[in-house]
Symmetry: C2
Subunit: 327 residues, 2 copies
Amino acid sequence: MIRIGILGYGNLGHGVECAVKQNEDMELAAVFTRRDPQSVHILTEHVPVCPVADAAAYKDKIDVLIICGGSATDLPVQTPEYVKYFNVVDSFDTHANIPQHFENVDKQAKASGKIGMISVGWDPGMFSLNRVYANAILPDGKDYTFWGKGVSQGHSDAIRRINGVADARQYTIPLPAALEAVRNGEALELSTREKHTRECFVVAKEGADLSRIEKEIKEMPNYFADYDTTVHFISQEELDANHSGIPHGGFVIRSGRSGWEGENRHIIEYSLKLDSNPEFTASVLAAYARAAYRMNAEGMSGCKTVLDVAPVYLCRQSGEELRSHML
Amino acid sequence: MIRIGILGYGNLGHGVECAVKQNEDMELAAVFTRRDPQSVHILTEHVPVCPVADAAAYKDKIDVLIICGGSATDLPVQTPEYVKYFNVVDSFDTHANIPQHFENVDKQAKASGKIGMISVGWDPGMFSLNRVYANAILPDGKDYTFWGKGVSQGHSDAIRRINGVADARQYTIPLPAALEAVRNGEALELSTREKHTRECFVVAKEGADLSRIEKEIKEMPNYFADYDTTVHFISQEELDANHSGIPHGGFVIRSGRSGWEGENRHIIEYSLKLDSNPEFTASVLAAYARAAYRMNAEGMSGCKTVLDVAPVYLCRQSGEELRSHML
């Protein structure tokens, strides 16, 4: 059994707990929290919830610590810190800062002889993998990534900060016409507005000026100004009833050419349709926790990303079983 | 530069030649053929076409030999033989015999210190990879593979063997309704007939009994009897004009569940739409030739499949570049 620790018990940590339950070769060893442990109620029986300060003391009781903090301020500190004691996996997703994070984690992981697996999830993660595979196969081609239909937490938060808004949920939606054109192999330069639309469900406070709120949303730079945005005002009850899930997904498509003169066209497409963004991300984290455990058992150490992991390390089954049944 | 040799210059060997041209870090060193070398005209200038008996003499002039023979009788002999001298890559695709082929190649590859990369292509190959990734992430789920729309060489050949048939081309077509149901997350047990249809374009010899030919096709066991099959009789000119390509493709879909009680559903889908089946397969072979070269340079040897190759080995770019731009 691979003994898993969870650091941080929000949506993602809860998802990891569920994923561990689904994987027969894993067991949950402990959950660490910055909150009062008494206030954190996990689902797995007979597993301790501990203050984060106690984590290092679990050094010999946990094989892989899955760090479920945020990318802005938590992970840049936590991942290099805890890789001193454990193999760790994180979902660091600030694309631009990955090289720096890699370097920080690599240094500590090499010193401790552990594996620090970073930026695991679906983007970065499975989407990155698919970009790399598709680029390796079709060097002469073009990549397209579409996100959605799904909830963007950042955009929902941005709406909530507007004066007069009580609650909000924002969906990012890929434009079907753009998807179709890319799938038909047309080599396109698509603008932001041509790839995605944004749909907002907003609960206004009593007496708020709806047209002012709508205008503020639609003109918000970076978040909405470059998109065709639709705003619906609904009641809190309707928001809770119809928009409480956290679905997401998207498409990675590469359109490329082969042949002596590039005469043949090929389309490689990978897509995800997810009922729960955090639970799916957590499921990816669990698979890469298995890989971290196995790779470390073979003597590997240092910082790794999904690009460094041979697929055979991810599945519970042996290489022999996979070759017989899945190859 | 990675020096590539090609053994066997049919559709696949030709595709590899084109792929090598597209990859800036590769050069074609030699082509080996069982035909009279004088009769084989390749596209790359200043590259020798040699009798297959000379291959071993190129031991120090070739980094990776891509073996483009057939799975029935060529590869079971050629791959274990040439891995004595070279890193090799093949596209062995008889799924049931992969474990035996693996064992044969592994033994010779370990003795020679080379890498023998087998069963590379799209199925087995990219489709296998996607089955493994999706199973690792969603252990509670179900796999579906659909092939097509594409030309099945084996089924086209089977029609050509019927008395009175001059030429034929058979397309395997996935049923849109089945694809849609799977994408909607319905857990289905689909029969053969519910997944694919078969469409045949047949050129009959003069005076042949068309209704007898159609009946023989539709009732042919294994090949057609379990499918809804459509037969169109056309002229040789029409076949040559409209059905001379070798397109193919397909879909690998996993529908799975997450959550404490499996309450959330996720769909992972990978699909290919290929103008040229052999050229795409060749493009995959070229990428894995790069991986074989690099892995061997790091001291690895033995038989490998796509499941054993970390994605970072496949792209021309360094790990650092990939982390900065594609992760």
